[in-house]
Structures are given as C-alpha cells and as structure tokens.
C-alpha cells in the first residue's frame, strides 16, 4: 500500500489534477471575493456554479461550440446573481437565508432544464448520457515544454489558466484602481462611501454580477471542462468550499489561492485513494475534502476579519 501511495504522490498526473481541481474553486472564490469586499455574503455561489454548469451544457449543445457554452454559463450565473442582488441590495433581505433559497432553487432549476433539454420526451427522464462539445487542454508554447512543471502547470484547460491569472488581476483591481477603492469602502463603511457620492447600490450590484459571472465559469469548468455533460447537483458543495476558501484566505486574493490549493489537493487525494480500493468505505474519501475544509477553518483561521459591513443592507436614511 505504501508503494501505491508513493506512486501517487510522485506522479506528474497527480499534481496536474490538483491544479485542475483547484481551478473551479479559485474561479468562484475570486468572483465571490469581489462581492464579499463590497459587503455581500456570497453563500449563493453554489447555486450560481450549478447554473453555470447547466448553462454551459445547454449552450454548448445548441451552439455546438465551447465558446457558446461559456457565454451561456456566464449569463446563467449572472442571472442567479441578479436575483440575489435584488434580494440583498434592493430588498435588503437576510443574505444567508436568500442564498440558501437560491441554492435550492438552482438545484431544482438546473435538473429541470437538464431533463427538458436532454430527456427522452416520452419518459421524461434522461436515458442516455448526452455528450456536448467540451474544452480541450491547451499547451502553452515554450513553458509547456519545461520538464515536469510544464506538464503540471502549462498543459491545462484555458479556464484553468484564467482561474490562476484571476488572482493577481483581482488583487490589482481591488488595491490599485479607483473601482477597487470604491468596492472596499462600500464593504467597510457604506455610509461613508455614500457621503462622498459613491453609489453603494451600483457597486454592490456590479460586484454580485461579477461573482455570478465567475461562478458561472467555474460551473462551466465542471460540465464542459472536466466532463462533457451535465450531472445533477454536479457542483457538490464546491460553491461552499469556495466560500470557505475566502474565509480561510482572510478576504485576500493570495490567501484564498492558498486555501483553494489546499482543497484542490484534498480533492485530488480522495479521487486517487478511492481508486486504490483500500478497506475503508469510499464514503469516507468522498467526505475527505470537506473534513479538510473544516479542519483548516478550525486550525488555521482563528479570528475572522471580514469586511465590517458584511451582510448588512444599506439604507441611506437609517441610523
């Protein structure tokens, strides 16, 4: 058994899988971070990811192109994000409760769409696995030829590159641009932002829509990236893990990168070890990444330092 484990941990494919499994978490978390910094709790990423996954499958199926799938995925994620924005920003409802409702709604909606689009009409169920056009890895010239590293990092799906590039990009936007300054101020002290003429409502809507876009792409990475079809509830809690990564990373892009890599690693480990047929019930390995998530939060995070106005609706005339 030890030699089997050694084999896993020394294989290039294993580390490539870590990177691949990290990417959807990272995409979603980078989107979520922006909304979080504007004061919106992004518990709804799970649903947005699921909508992205079904959107990508449907778009890819109808347009017969991956690009079409991605556009649909972004729109589907942003659609749910827009509903979430209405509830959090315009109505001022409890954000966690709204998110839970939307996540459940997205679960039902995505399965229904799947059944409607891909089903055997007479039976109303999906009888055969329909495969749609899906993404192909792109090897980056020169970098891809580096031994070992090239295979791990530079021979991946395009969205994986985008996920990792999003980290410095989001950092740059948050800390080096005027819109980033606006986002941060709105999340910390919306009344102060309001008194210097910043539209809290607009900043928050845009931030949430960006989360929808990114979580939608993350969903696409699941359905038409790693597979070539949709499966019911295929996000399987990854939206929540992305949220956890934000907390783990203390709302800082590079900290979050670390968090998602940890969870990507745990996911890759469980996939490989499951295949070994050890005398441990496979359910344990399925739960493994979530257990790691929990432990990471308990052991490493300590006192959370979230944006001060997190979860609070903004109303100008309220005290």
């Amino acid at each position: 058994m030890f030699s089997q484990l050694l084999e896993i941990f020394t294989s290039v494919a294993f580390y490539a899988a870590v990177i691949r499994l990290t990417a959807p978490l990272l995409l979603s978390a980078m989107g979520g971070l922006v909304a979080e910094r504007s004061g919106i709790i992004t518990f709804g990423m799970e649903g947005m990811m699921l909508m992205g996954a079904i959107g990508a499958a449907v778009g890819s199926y109808y347009t017969q192109s991956v690009l079409g799938g991605l556009v649909f995925a972004m729109l589907a994620g942003m659609f749910l994000a827009f509903l979430y924005g209405i509830m959090c920003v315009t109505v001022g409802a409890n954000q966690v409760v709204s998110a839970v409702a939307l996540n459940l709604g997205a679960l039902g909606l995505s399965s229904t769409i799947f059944a409607l689009v891909f089903s055997n009409k007479a039976l109303g169920v999906v009888t055969e696995v329909v495969s749609v056009p899906s993404m192909r890895p792109v090897k980056i010239p020169l970098l891809g030829d580096i031994p070992i590293l090239g295979d791990i990092l530079f021979n991946q799906l395009p969205l994986v590159y985008i996920a990792f590039l999003a980290v410095p990009a989001v950092w740059f936007v948050l800390y080096r641009t005027t819109i980033g300054l606006k986002i941060r101020s709105v999340g910390e002290h919306p009344h102060a932002a309001d008194t210097v003429g910043i539209s809290v409502v607009r900043v928050r809507y845009l931030s949430v829509l960006f989360t929808g876009l990114m979580a939608g792409l993350a969903g696409a990475l699941l359905s038409i990236g790693m597979l070539n079809t949709f499966q019911e509830n295929m996000s399987a809690g990854r939206g929540f893990i992305a949220y956890t990564a934000i907390v783990f990373g203390k709302w800082e892009p590079f900290g979050i990168l670390l968090g998602t890599l940890l969870f990507g690693l745990a996911d890759a480990i469980q996939l490989r070890i499951q295949a070994l047929n050890l005398p441990i019930p496979y359910q344990f390995w399925v739960a493994f990444p979530y257990i790691v998530t929990l432990l990471a939060l308990v052991l490493f995070v300590g006192k959370a330092t979230w944006p001060a106005a997190s979860g609070q609706p903004f109303k100008r005339e309220s005290k």
């Binding site: 080096r176 005027t178 819109i179 300054l181 941060r184 009344h191 102060a192 008194t195 100008r316």
Partner: protein
C-alpha cells in the same frame, strides 16, 4: 451681502418625529455660524438635508441666491459644501490618502494615483496648518487627528462651506483651542463655517452669529455680540435652567469597589487598560473623566464581567470578582448602566415591564418555582413607572417606542431597584434632553446619599464635575491623576485628559 446658503421652510419628518419644522437659515460668506440646540433638536437632520444625505419633505435650498436640488452628497460636494459628520465618515482600514480621494476621479483613471494624491494632501495640509501623514491607516489615528482628516477631505474637494457637526464632542479642551484657531484661519481665507454644538460657552467664543433650534424649529438667529449664555440657554430649553444639582456633603464609608493594577485588551486586541488602580467607597461618586475611546468602555466592561481581565484584581466588598460571570457579579450587588442603552441596556422589542424585571425575574418574589408572579410584577412595574416618571401609556409597550430619555429611565429604574451596593454608570445621560438629564443625575445623587458606591464614567466633563466627589482622569488606559472634586482645576484636568501629567505650575505641558 448676498448669502452663500439660504434654507427656506425646510421640513423633514421621520416616522413619529418632526425633525425639522419649517426651518429658515441664512449663511453669509466668510462667517462662522453656530447652530445651537439640545440633543434631538434637529440640527444634524437639517445639515443632512443640506448635504444630500436626507431628502427634505418640502422647502427650498438656495446656493449663492439660486435654488438648487441636492439629491445626494455628490450634488452638495459639487456645489462646494463639505460636511464633517459627528460620527466620522471615514473607512477605518483605508489610509488617510485613500479616504481623502475616495469617490473622486483619478488623474490616471481607472488606476489610483496615491503618490500624487499624497503630495497634494501634504501641500494642502501644510497651507492650512493641519499636519497629517497620508499613508497611515485611519484606524490607527487618535480621534482628534481623524477629525483633521475629515476636514482635509472637505477642503480637498474645494468646499466653500464647511459644516462641522458637534466637532468638539471628541476633543480635549486643548484640542478645542487648536480647532478654533484653524476655524478662524479658514474664515480669514473666506470660507463659511456652520458649527454645530450644544455647548454654550464654545458657541459664544467662536461664532459670529448663532441660530438656536428647539424641537425641530428655529427659535431665533442673533449675533454673538448681542447675547449671553443665559439667554441662549433659555432659548434652547424653553425655560430657565438650573443645571446645578444640590448635593449633600459626602460621607464615604467602607471600600466597595477596588481595582488593583487591572489590565485588559480592547476588541482590536490592543492594550486598553494599562494597570488601573482605583477605589470607590460607599456613599461617594467617583467620576472618570476623559476623551472618548481612552479605555472607558473597557473599564466598565471588566467590572461588569463582560471583558476578560488579563492582569490585576477586581474586588467588590472584599470579594475577588476578577473574571467572574456577570450573573455572579450582579448577585453581589453590582448594577450597571451601559454606555449604549439601545444595544446593551435594553431588549428593544421587549415591553417596559419585561425590561424592568430583566435582572430579577428569576428570583422570588418575581418568580416562584419557575413561574413568573404576574400580580407582583404588575404592581412592581406600575410603582417603578410612577416613581421614576417613565412616560409610557402602560407597562406593556415595547420599550423601543419610548423616547431616549424614558428608555434610560427604564434602565436606571431596573438597576436601582436591585438596591445595589455599587452602580457603574457609563454615559448615563448621553443623548438625553435637559429634563431627563436632570432627573437621571438627581437619582444618582440620591442613590449615593443612600449609601451606594457609584462609578460614573462620562465623556461630558460638565457631568463629571457637577456630580463627582472625586475625579479620576483616564488617558490611553491609564489613570493620570485622582483629585477631590473640591480642589479640581479645570485646566489641570484638561491637560491630564490630553495625556500630560500635571505641569500646570511650570507652564510647560509635556504631551505623552
């Protein structure tokens, strides 16, 4: 002279309150105009209407003679109006420079240009004599400096009219002097200033003209040279005021509260109390004077058992209560009026009656065998409402519907009904009108005369001076000095509040 700003018949109501009732106001170029009124008179609301934070229900605003629509703060800023809010509108984790340029277009849009902003801020600060370090996060700055940031924020936006909402509330007497110098310099440069305050002396010192507001209406506007504090007080309150409280001589008994070298951390995990030693005896009021944010909150909390003591001992009647549960401390006879009645002192959605018995409902005669004794509770509450003059239709009204003064009476009635050995009162009259203030103060003096030991923590220096038998000054978590009220010297207290150990005699204050 043509007016810079003119308000005509401004009205603004909130659910249940007419905050501004047909208010007229005229501000001339280059004048310092005081807006004077009690808490709740409607001063802040009026200025929020001018600044676009609130929309007035009716009325017209004229700027340089032309009627203008101010829908949001951006419009006011564009006209040249700047406002320093009473609760600063600064984003704590952002730096001074980031706060100042927030919301303005950058010369390198969409990129921030903090370097050139910092340079400009330094120059601006220099020219007005307001030194500032642009790259420090705002939360690290003392309040006095934060206020400077707010003023610079308005100047950076080229304000011609600067509105200062209760700017002196957070300052030491020395800092007030500094601020006044700066305001006079602004006036020299042609700026107009609206200076909001409820302190008569200050208003007389700094302003050219004074507008007095009471209960949402303007009582009168008159030049400072043609009035006096007494007349202003009468206009402000609507009757003659006697803020002096009769106090029988103090006869201190045994030591009730004793703090020995107590240390504690703040919410931000910085040292908040740095070795406090203090005694309060039965039948005396010890007042803690100091500028807000120097450890007062933490001091009250460690005594009430709401914050961990990291070092040192707290004893009540000789019994060690360091880091005990709040419940055990209450049972020893310690009562607590928290600084924030709305969040800590009351359950706002609960009724007056439920709040009144909030600390005693689980013991006889309020309950027996786990059942509330309705008859007894009703009688008790009716008695408390009558004897404390709590203005409420009946005891079953949610306490959130009461005015601030009556809410505070509920808190005090509850705490005193326990016949405490020790009362820790933190900001007991903050935000109350003169009537309620007088009442609360009198109740405390009565409790003291009945033998209760009282620790009064207040940022209103007047309150500490008029109620205390002994005065301790707190600065950055340390007691700078303790003196008996009889020999207290205002100038000395002011220096201690600013952190310099008394060097009054030599006239060379050293700032810590």
């Amino acid at each position: 002279m043509e007016s810079l700003l003119r308000l005509e018949k401004i009205c603004k109501t909130f659910p249940g309150v007419v905050a501004n009732d047909h208010v007229d106001l005229e501000i001339l170029p280059g004048e310092i105009h005081a807006l004077l009124g009690e808490n709740g008179a409607g001063k802040t609301t009026l200025m929020n209407c001018v600044y676009g934070v609130y929309r007035p229900d009716s009325g017209t605003i004229y700027w340089k003679g032309r009627p203008v629509e101010i829908h949001q703060a951006r419009d006011a800023i564009a006209l040249g109006i700047g406002m320093v809010h009473q609760h600063f509108m600064l984003v704590p984790p952002l730096t001074v420079a980031e706060n100042i340029i927030l919301g303005l277009p950058s010369p390198r849009e969409p990129l921030l240009d903090l370097k050139s902003a910092s340079r400009q801020i330094r120059e601006l600060a220099q020219s007005y004599g307001l030194p500032i370090e642009p790259d420090v996060p705002v939360w690290q700055l003392p309040v006095g400096v934060q206020q400077r940031v707010e003023i610079l924020k308005a100047l950076y936006r080229q304000a011609e009219l600067l509105i200062l909402d209760e700017p002196t509330a957070v300052l030491t007497p020395g800092e007030v002097e500094e601020l006044f110098k700066v305001l006079r310099a602004f006036k020299e440069k042609g700026l107009s200033i609206i200076f909001i305050s409820h302190k008569l002396e200050e208003v007389m010192t700094i302003s050219d003209r004074i507008t007095v507001m009471r209960a949402g209406k303007v009582v009168d506007t008159l030049p400072a040279s043609r009035t006096n504090p007494r007349e202003l007080a009468r206009m402000m309150v609507g009757r003659e005021v006697f803020l002096h409280i009769e106090k029988p001589p103090c006869t201190p008994g045994e030591v009730v509260l004793e703090l020995e070298n107590v240390r504690a951390q703040s919410d931000r995990d910085l040292p908040a109390l740095k070795g406090i030693s203090l005694q309060v005896r039965a039948g005396e009021i010890v007042g803690i004077a100091g500028v807000d944010g120097n450890g007062q909150t933490e001091l009250a909390e460690v005594i009430a058992g709401l914050r961990r003591v990291t070092e040192g001992r707290i004893r009540v009647l000789g019994k060690d209560i360091t880091n005990c549960m709040p419940k055990d401390i209450i049972d020893l006879g310690v009562a607590f009026v928290p600084p924030d009645r709305q969040h800590m002192g009351l359950l706002l959605d609960f009724t007056v009656s439920e709040n009144l018995i909030g600390k005693s409902f689980d013991r006889p005669p309020f309950s027996r065998y786990g059942f509330l004794q309705r008859r007894f509770i009703e009688n008790f509450c009716d008695g408390a409402i009558r004897s404390c003059d709590i203005r409420t239709p009946h005891a079953q009204v949610p306490v959130k519907l009461l005015s601030g003064g009556n809410q505070q009476k509920v808190v005090l009635a509850r705490e005193l009904s326990l016949q405490p050995k020790l009362l820790v009162a933190s900001q007991p009259t903050r935000g109350l009108d003169v009537g309620a203030t007088e009442y609360i103060r009198r109740q405390m003096v009565e409790a003291r005369s009945a033998g209760t030991a009282i620790l009064l923590i207040s940022t209103e220096l007047d309150e500490v001076l008029s109620l205390s038998d002994r005065i301790a000054v707190i600065y950055e978590g340390e007691i700078m000095g303790i003196m008996s009220a009889a020999e207290a010297d205002l100038q000395e207290i002011g220096l201690l509040m600013a952190g310099s150990r008394a060097h009054v005699a030599t006239g060379t204050p050293q700032t810590a």
